[in-house]
């Protein structure tokens, strides 16, 4: 990943920190090159954002397969439609908005197709974060399943705000831009979402 970024942005010495957070200028440069049809720039953008896009999709859609499909779909769409980005906000904010909106649309379509609650992805359980004792691991898996079930039961806008905040650690200002509301509204929405999730987790425990 870093070698590609170094190649694309030779002026900036890239280390892990820089690669994790592109500056506004670097981001703009990559987007302009993508708009001009530069596939290397697109590759750098994908490498930089794939983890974030995938995890947002995973948080909202709930399965690895759906998240992977969604991430691919988003980047393919991006290649064709990157001209729609008008540099009025950070590219990352724009991309988050696209991903969350598309995920919510897909979820809505799925809901219409099936009345059952979303299936738990048993075939590919959550990857363990660290080495644990079997007992702890079972407990953790159980907690995750409860959390996942609670997340699927949450209202779409609550799930969106929680995933963006807790998984992606977006600031309140970034959240306001992605969701399209005021910072004050983000504050209250986040509280409502956390409260609703807590009630669901307690209900399923």
């Amino acid at each position: 990943m870093y070698s590609i970024l170094e190649e694309i942005l030779p002026a900036v010495p890239l280390n892990t920190q820089v690669a994790d957070t592109l500056t506004k200028e670097q981001e703009k440069d990559l987007v302009v090159r993508c708009q001009d049809g530069d596939k290397h720039a697109m590759e750098a953008l994908i490498l930089h954002y794939q983890q974030w896009v995938y995890n947002i999709a995973y948080g909202i859609l709930g399965t690895r397969e759906d998240a992977s499909d969604m991430a691919q779909e988003v980047f393919l769409w991006l290649w064709e439609n990157i001209g729609q980005f008008r540099f009025r906000s950070r590219f990352s904010t724009w991309l988050y908005r696209i991903v969350t909106n598309r995920c919510i649309n897909v979820k809505d379509q799925k809901k219409r197709r099936q009345t059952d609650a979303m299936e738990i992805d048993d075939s590919q359980p959550w990857a363990p974060i660290d080495t644990e004792t079997p007992e702890k691991s079972v407990l953790r898996l159980e907690q995750r399943e409860i959390l996942q079930k609670a997340l699927t039961e949450l209202k779409d806008d609550y799930r969106q705000v929680l995933v963006l905040r807790e998984m992606q650690d977006l600031s309140y200002e970034e959240l306001a831009e992605v969701i399209g509301c005021s910072v004050g509204r983000v504050k209250s929405k986040l509280h409502e979402a956390r409260k609703a999730l807590r009630e669901l987790v307690l209900q399923f425990s």
Partner: protein
């Protein structure tokens, strides 16, 4: 501050989004309220659990890059997309403002379309009448003689006024 108001601030407290004063108030309340402590602890635990859902993505770039078609520069859009317009309009504040402005414009449109436009002949009359009044008051040797105590012109003057207007208006 009441228990409910403090409770509403727990989320912002967790995210370190409170002013030092509000933070101190919440902490004081937490020292004596088990319910809020429990809620905060649940918020914290759920936050960690959601954070733990993060994991390594599959090699998306490897899957996507071979599918990207070659293309030249794309057309850059200077107009907002439908999605952006939709999001802008449906913001609560913007939505309300948009509704009020639309209602005002609609009202103005209906009102001014239904109200007759000003009559040119009346305008002409008024302007000529003003000129005539000035002329009359300077020419007559006593304008006050022709106005009664209530400030209303005498019948003779009104008649003269009308004749003069007709003369001007009909082009005599």
């Amino acid at each position: 501050m009441s228990h409910n108001r403090i409770q509403k601030q727990l989320s912002a407290y967790l995210d370190d989004q409170l002013s030092p004063e509000s933070r101190a108030r919440v902490e004081t309340h937490l020292s004596s309220c088990d319910e809020c402590v429990e809620m905060l602890s649940d918020f914290q635990r759920n936050r960690q659990s959601i954070g733990a859902l993060r994991h390594e993505a599959p090699p998306i770039a490897e899957l996507v890059l071979p599918q990207l078609p070659d293309r030249g520069p794309v057309r850059r859009s200077f107009l907002p997309s439908i999605e952006e317009i939709r999001q802008w309009i449906f913001r609560p504040v913007m939505g309300g403002t948009f509704a009020v402005v639309s209602a005002c414009l609609l009202f103005a449109l209906v009102y001014f379309n239904l109200t007759p436009t000003s009559d040119d002949s009346l305008d002409l009359y008024l302007s000529e009448h003003t000129q005539y009044s000035v002329y009359y008051s300077t020419q007559s040797d006593g304008a006050t003689d022709s106005i009664d105590s209530n400030g209303i012109p005498s019948a003779t003057n009104v008649e003269d006024d009308t004749n003069f207007f007709l003369g001007v208006y009909l082009g005599d």
